[in-house]
Symmetry: C2
Subunit: 454 residues, 2 copies
Amino acid sequence: MVKKELTNRKLFDEFYSNKLSDGKEVDLQGRVRTNRNNGSIGFIEFNDGTFFKNIQLVYENNEYSKIRYGSTIEVKGNIKLTPNNKQPFEITVKEINLLNDCAEDYPLQKKRHSFEFLREIAHLRSRANTFYAVFRVRNVLTYAIHKYFQERNFVYVHTPLITSNDAEGAGQVFKVVADMKKPDDFFKANASLTVSGQLHVEAFALTYRDVYTFGPAFRAEQSNTTRHASEFWMIEPEMAFCDLEDNMNVIESFLKYIIKYVLDNAKEEMNFFDTMIEKGVIKKLEHVIHSEFKRMTYTEAIEILKKAKENGHHFEFNDIHWGMDLQSEHERYLTEEVIKGPLFLIDYPKEIKAFYMKQNADGKTVAACDLLVPYVGELIGGSQREEKYDVLLYKMQEIGNDKGLEWYLDLRKYGGCIHSGFGLGFDRLLMYITGISNIRDVQPYPRTPGSLKF
Amino acid sequence: MVKKELTNRKLFDEFYSNKLSDGKEVDLQGRVRTNRNNGSIGFIEFNDGTFFKNIQLVYENNEYSKIRYGSTIEVKGNIKLTPNNKQPFEITVKEINLLNDCAEDYPLQKKRHSFEFLREIAHLRSRANTFYAVFRVRNVLTYAIHKYFQERNFVYVHTPLITSNDAEGAGQVFKVVADMKKPDDFFKANASLTVSGQLHVEAFALTYRDVYTFGPAFRAEQSNTTRHASEFWMIEPEMAFCDLEDNMNVIESFLKYIIKYVLDNAKEEMNFFDTMIEKGVIKKLEHVIHSEFKRMTYTEAIEILKKAKENGHHFEFNDIHWGMDLQSEHERYLTEEVIKGPLFLIDYPKEIKAFYMKQNADGKTVAACDLLVPYVGELIGGSQREEKYDVLLYKMQEIGNDKGLEWYLDLRKYGGCIHSGFGLGFDRLLMYITGISNIRDVQPYPRTPGSLKF
């Protein structure tokens, strides 16, 4: 046995609950973040991976000054409370055992590296402060999402990744083949990687009422932007007996819950982002938690944008008209300038939204809701689903998407109901919460066009 | 708004905590499971998807007898406590509104269907009792796994699904291509679907100490067995400063925790499996919870198997010798006949185990541990990882697996440490817990050779 029960996190937990006693004996394993000495006394910044903050080791044995940055060590010593210092406690070293030396050509040097460089060493970059914080928040956010749904009796469904159809009926998909010479041979069908689990999870909403999927999705687009990755994670809840208004209530409650959970459970990391990555990010998120999310129809939004243009506001996409797809600048104008907070835009023209969305009585719009937030624009997209068999069939035939989806139509035929759901990209949500501006820097091993190292 | 706060589950929760009052007014939405009447009085078995047990609706209005099995309804009425009946309470109907009729050709008839038939209607089968129970337990088990790790400060890592290498260096993989005519063009590399996230997650264990991945994995094998699927979910924890013995301690604690969690949180479903699917499954699982997991070396196991053969025990694979790969019948003999409980087999010949496993001092075996359980054989496989750079490099070169994995070797060069981990197939674990004997019946939409409906 080599595993120790004591960790940096436990020491900090003890300290914050006033239970850490001066002189406490400790035995820890972890990594050397820095090692410096002034001749008579040495200092190691030590981190064992369990907590964001380092612990300072203070040693007198000059031998330890040879231990290289990046090495792993076991340290035995005693806690020394230091209430007047920046660090509330340190460890007075009795003994350090070098477990594994770090080679001198360690690419992660003490200097500040560019994010571009760090992407090239994805296997090491989580040891650098920013990524150390990012991937822990990624974990905390994931658990917040599961907790929210599980506490409300939603059933988590693993929708398939290999599929013979795609939800949007658009966009480029990756093909999956066992043998390049006989591409359809393995499954006896055209197999591709999913772009969304929504259609598959809808069937389960009609059994369990409230369900969600949370898993990977893929896009084979040649988009080299800061917001596109070829592989990413999606959250897609679906609720039976739930209309558009109910849906928006859940989205609002969900988003506030998960943001609050991260602020409460990743304090050190969020403070780091607030200082080093996006000044004010905590205030931005607290504002969301304390806002009442406003609601506005697409038609109203177009009128407001037209008026803004008349009054001299400059938009890059200047041809404001009913039926247009809103650009990020329009969304941001509405949420930042008009509402100054989160905003649901609802009732979009049916032509610019997906076939499965519920057609409104006006015959022109669908019961969609996009949540817009300041600094980003659209964060979450949702809709009530078309529950009428005939209407849905007609729309599917119109776009030639009815073959292979008979089972999806069945859900309207055998005891359907009003149901709604929403979807959001997990990685973009994480960007929003951490302030990190490139999707490549919130994914453990990002996959983008031309990039498949690791 | 159409969403109601009250659900079947809440009513049962109230009942079990003695808070459900006779006469309570209720308003529920859900599905008709059966509808029968004797002329003057009618009975609907009603389920809204939130709880395994149905609630009986009792009506007098003969109009309601026309409501078809499978339809969705809204029901208003009053609770009637029925302490002397099989069902502890029922609902006296005031009003039923038909929300959506179920067509007469509903494939899910009241008679018992074969599992084979139900696989053909995967979009509807979760409404049938067995699958209704299976997919809820799937959800409960998933959450148990996350809870176990999160409560112990493990960091969940989303390892990539599209990859340029594979952990086992063996087995057939699915290729991922954006354009069939230019297969390597999108990523500028040979892209395939992952068979394991282990190598990728090891890098994060060296940062965060304790980590895990829990996501989909793929095998392009033409195996049409009850235990093989082309797409499945895997759990792969990895721990730094952790040797083989620590690893086994975690496996034992983990397995006991998640089984107990399911027994405690899916009581009705587990009782159903115990009655209808595998008699004694609860006792089997409770035995695991209360067992102390034994440990035995592979070498000892071979001796025992040889002796069993000498004493006349019949094995299909009869050529028992050191170096052989144990078959399921051997594993089951050891765990069922010899130990009569869970058993770790350790220290396997290096030739039959993966390259990344820690070589023991004897030069012949590796620090692997396979957990064998009665009725299944191997349930979980783990090992200490080779932390010595030179030894690992040699083994990788030996099997020609050193190209493209330089980053994996780096983890031994830049402050490595003793570390260990394990892996288990989530779907097979679910089969073990529910007693369901075909992997196609525990996955929402199973993917197997020749099968890609939905």
